[in-house]
């Protein structure tokens, strides 16, 4: 209507496009340390393979083939990544609030327990849409409770969460083991009965035949939604702003009137809930029961995934895919070298990333500060 308005919006949209381009370029460069760390870790792993007298090339080809070779392999990777997206996101959310959540493992374990038990208790007639929602909520609640305890201990007593979350992992394992052995496990197994069909999450193979046999299921889409929701919550709401402020400096946050203790507990509860819900990939989407040891260190790997993804809700997705790929590859190469070589490489990735990231970031900042001053000319020319 008003010609000047449309005229004004033109450059602003262009600017927005430009800033989007610049930001995605920056995001791409932010992944540089992760990629470099992966390459270096693979090289070190290759050396280890060579030391064993095996051909590293054969091992890597087998590894790559198991990941990219066919849809089944990719389905396996996606399945493993689904859990890791969740645990990575859990650690990332806690990290933004200033917490090292090393307890994702235990929170996930109890989440799986709650999901399994609640799904088993549901009446047969529960509709197919409500049953999984109830089970997912139970998992989230259990995880939230387990995360909130170390959160509260830090908020009110000042106890650092690292030791408490580790201790609570062991307590969670013992609790789950007791419930299984004494009450829940089927005869001569360490898992519960199968949950009713209504509570299960559909596998991709039911609508994408290419994924036949792979356990990747609807949980993957849910996890991506959770990533987006966490991003919105942390960066687009007042609550999220306050949580991040607490994470940056609890003292400063207190001075400006943010309820620091409440935010701490809430953030850890959210982190725990996400970790708890991640168990549903296995319990509701794959085996359809709760089993001792089903977490398989996914909680600990979540720490690596979060770090690799720059503790960002969207960063954890590619990082989880990378670690999921390595996990999948480990099984494929197990005939050639012990699959634990993958655990070694994953640990090396963590150590390399924390050494490389600040170095590369420092270099980038120095590079950028120069052209930024003459920015417009540079872009037009």
């Amino acid at each position: 209507m008003n010609p000047s308005a449309s005229h004004d919006s033109m450059p602003s949209q262009l600017d927005r496009l430009r800033s989007l381009g610049r930001r995605s370029l920056l995001a791409l460069r932010a992944t540089l340390p992760a990629i470099l760390a992966l390459v270096l870790a693979l090289c070190l792993g290759g050396i280890l393979v060579a030391l064993l007298g095996r051909n590293p090339w054969t091992v890597f080809v087998r590894l790559a083939d198991s990941i990219f070779g066919n849809a089944f392999g990719m389905g396996q990777v996606l399945f493993k990544a689904t859990t890791l997206i969740g645990t990575g996101l859990s650690v990332a959310v806690a990290f933004r609030a200033g917490f090292f959540n090393i307890g994702a493992e235990g929170q996930m374990y109890l989440g799986g327990l709650a999901a399994g038990v609640v799904a088993l208790l549901l009446p047969e007639t529960t509709p197919g849409l409500i049953a999984p929602v109830v089970a997912l909520s139970a998992a989230a609640l259990a995880g939230a409770l387990w995360g909130a305890i170390p959160g509260a201990l830090k908020a009110w007593l000042g106890v650092h969460e690292v030791i408490n979350t580790i201790m609570m992992n062991f307590i969670a394992f013992a609790l789950g083991s007791w419930l299984l052995v004494e009450h829940l496990a089927l005869f001569e197994t360490l898992h519960t009965a199968e949950i009713p069909a209504a509570a299960r999450l559909a596998r991709f193979e039911t609508f994408l035949p290419a994924f036949r046999g792979a356990p990747v299921n609807l949980m993957l889409l849910l996890q991506i939604v959770f990533c987006a929701a966490s991003w919105l919550l942390l960066w687009r709401t007042r609550w999220g702003f306050e949580v991040r402020a607490v994470g940056q400096s609890a003292q400063a946050a207190r001075v400006v009137g943010i309820p620091v203790r409440r935010r701490m507990v809430q953030a850890m509860a959210l982190s725990g809930a996400i970790a708890g819900i991640s168990a549903c990939n296995f319990v509701l989407g794959y085996k359809h029961y709760f089993e001792e040891g089903f977490t398989a260190e996914a909680g600990f790997k979540g720490i690596a995934v979060s770090l690799l993804g720059a503790n960002h809700p969207f960063g954890v997705i590619p990082a989880a895919l990378m670690f999921g790929g390595l996990d999948r590859g480990g099984f494929a190469i197990n005939a050639l070298v012990p699959k634990e070589i993958v655990d070694i490489m994953q640990a090396l990735v963590i150590l390399l990333v924390i050494v490389l990231a600040p170095r590369l970031a420092g270099r980038m900042r120095r590079e950028q500060s120069a052209p930024d001053r003459q920015g417009p000319q540079g872009e037009e020319g």
């Binding site: 201990l153 600990f300 655990d343």
Partner: protein
């Protein structure tokens, strides 16, 4: 009455044995954290030390070295592995000034992967190594009669652990090295300006830390006569809690280790009794005691002021 005495005596003996890895790891933690470097890699140090001890001991036994000597070679190998692990932590946190907690986490994960990898390559098993003889108890006439003395004075590594407590305690309060370490952990910049080589002291602190914690691992392996995957089971973290509970002093940490070990010993004793408490509930006991102890002491336990902070400037 006699039954109660036997129970207590057993509890005491078992506590003294269980304390050993906690003592070594907590004292190691002291060396690192007093210099200002958080060391949650103690857990990985325990694992690496335990595996190194078994590898060396079983290699020596296979080459005809008598049991006790092979055991001591295992102890030596553990120390070397501990120094190497400590050096890695120092390289990342002191030289490259990266995050100390994340480095510790990474080293712990590395230790889990590496030990299980080596276990498979060397022993062809993902669960445990072959058996080793270990270091036998000294037979000192007269002393070997009564349980507690026997454990305390005739079990070499138990004796070594308590000697280390005394040594580190003296180091902390009476030596130039101890005072400098303290200064570096409290105010590295001030220490630097007084001519203390902060970086060098931190390297030494962290490597000493690795060596001591690895001794704890060696005890675990030699005591159980084998390496089992994940045999550290959180002891490195409990030792760290003991250090905090003991207000970052060697003496306090040693007492806290005794407390946590007593909780574990009680748990094991009760497992054997006919009490109507499920075993898994008892298993939680040491972890719960650790959490409660930490919650109770906080505020009265002050960490080194520069803990977790790398030296500024370069």
């Amino acid at each position: 009455m006699g039954e109660a005495f036997a129970f207590l005596s057993l509890l005491l003996v078992s506590t003294l044995r269980i304390t050993v890895p906690y003592l070594f790891a907590a004292l190691g933690g002291w060396c690192s954290e007093r210099s200002g470097v958080v060391n949650i890699a103690l857990e990985g140090n325990l694992l690496n030390g335990a595996l190194a001890a078994v590898l060396a001991a079983s290699w020596a036994e296979a080459h005809g070295v008598p049991g006790a000597l092979a055991g001591w070679m295992g102890v030596g190998a553990a120390v070397v592995a501990g120094i190497a692990t400590g050096a890695l932590h120092a390289l990342i946190t002191v030289r490259f000034r990266a995050d100390q907690i994340v480095s510790g986490l990474g080293i712990n994960l590395l230790a889990v992967g590496l030990t299980e990898f080596v276990l498979k390559v060397v022993y062809g098993s993902s669960a445990n190594s072959s058996r080793i003889a270990g270091i036998p108890v000294w037979e000192i006439p007269g002393l070997a009669d009564w349980g507690v003395t026997r454990v305390l004075l005739c079990t070499p590594l138990v004796l070594l652990a308590w000697c280390t407590v005394i040594l580190v305690d003296r180091l902390a309060r009476r030596s130039v090295f101890g005072l400098r370490l303290h200064a570096v952990g409290e105010h590295p910049e001030a220490a630097q300006s007084l001519g203390i080589d902060v970086v060098r002291l931190r390297w030494i602190g962290v490597m000493l830390s690795g060596a001591m914690a690895a001794l704890g691992g060696a005890w675990l392996a030699l005591d159980q006569h084998q390496f089992t995957a994940g045999m550290s089971s959180g002891r490195g973290f409990i030792a760290l809690a003991a250090l905090i509970f003991g207000k970052w002093t060697p003496r306090g940490a040693a007492l806290a280790c005794l407390l946590f070990a007593a909780a574990e010993a009680l748990q094991i004793q009760l497992q054997g009794s006919r009490l109507p408490i499920p075993g898994q509930w008892l298993q939680m006991l040491p972890y719960l005691v650790t959490m409660i102890a930490l919650a109770g002491v906080i505020g009265r336990s002050r960490p080194p002021a520069a803990l977790g902070r790398p030296l500024e400037g370069d």
